[in-house]
């Protein structure tokens, strides 16, 4: 899903996603991305963990869009 660094086993990506998921409501996390909200939402399709994480991230509408973008 989100983090697909070449040469690294996929399991580490899942670790990062689980880390972010487990922090939810326990500590603050700021995530920065060049993607649009629609593009970001597509991550849901990747894995169950990604789906759960994005649901929680977007649930409280804690989304800030900086500057102007052309979609």
């Amino acid at each position: 899903m989100i983090l697909n660094v070449s040469n690294l086993p996929r399991v580490h990506t899942e670790h990062v996603l689980e880390l972010l998921l487990r922090r939810h409501t326990k500590a603050s996390t700021i995530i920065i991305s060049n993607l649009s909200l629609a593009e970001f939402s597509k991550y849901r399709e990747d894995t169950p963990v990604a789906n759960a994480l994005i649901d929680r991230l977007l649930h409280r509408r804690s989304v800030i869009e900086v500057g102007r973008r052309v979609d």
């Binding site: 700021i30 995530i31 102007r68």
Partner: protein, 138 residues
């Protein structure tokens, strides 16, 4: 737009309800926001509120809009106020966890990342640069 007075009132309420451990010297109005005038200063305050409520936040925007600067401003301010802050690019975070796993220190590293009051993950995207040359177990 939230005024400084309203923000400080919110902070006081947070303190009284015991849901935060903000130090008394904490002042959000010390944030200096002059780099990019297209970013509403109120957004910084909104982020501050999220921070003390242990919430998450996603910042979107094109390159050069000031996303990282915005988050770093919050991070620096939070750190000056006594919070531990961890700022990592997403690819670096991934490599750190991979490296910790390879060396058997993953439990320690993950515990630190789980408990730090503010974690900022920069440049999250679907495909990281192929220029990344890290080797997990070579």
């Amino acid at each position: 737009m939230m005024t400084n007075d309203e923000l400080h009132r919110a902070l006081r309420q947070q303190r009284l309800s015991g849901t935060t451990d903000l130090p008394n010297t904490f002042r959000w109005d010390t944030i200096h926001w002059t780099c990019d005038t297209s970013i509403d200063r109120a957004l910084v305050y909104e982020l501050a509120i999220w921070l003390i409520q242990r919430r998450d936040c996603v910042i979107f925007g094109n390159r050069g809009c000031g996303k990282s600067y915005l988050a770093q401003g919050i991070g620096v301010t939070a750190n000056e106020a006594g919070f531990s802050v961890c700022y990592r690019e997403a690819s670096r975070l991934l490599r750190d966890i991979a490296s910790a796993t390879a060396s058997g220190k993953d439990a320690q590293v993950i515990t630190e990342l789980l408990t730090v009051p503010l974690l900022i993950v920069d440049d999250l995207k679907r495909e990281q640069s192929s220029a990344c040359t890290y080797r997990a177990c070579s």
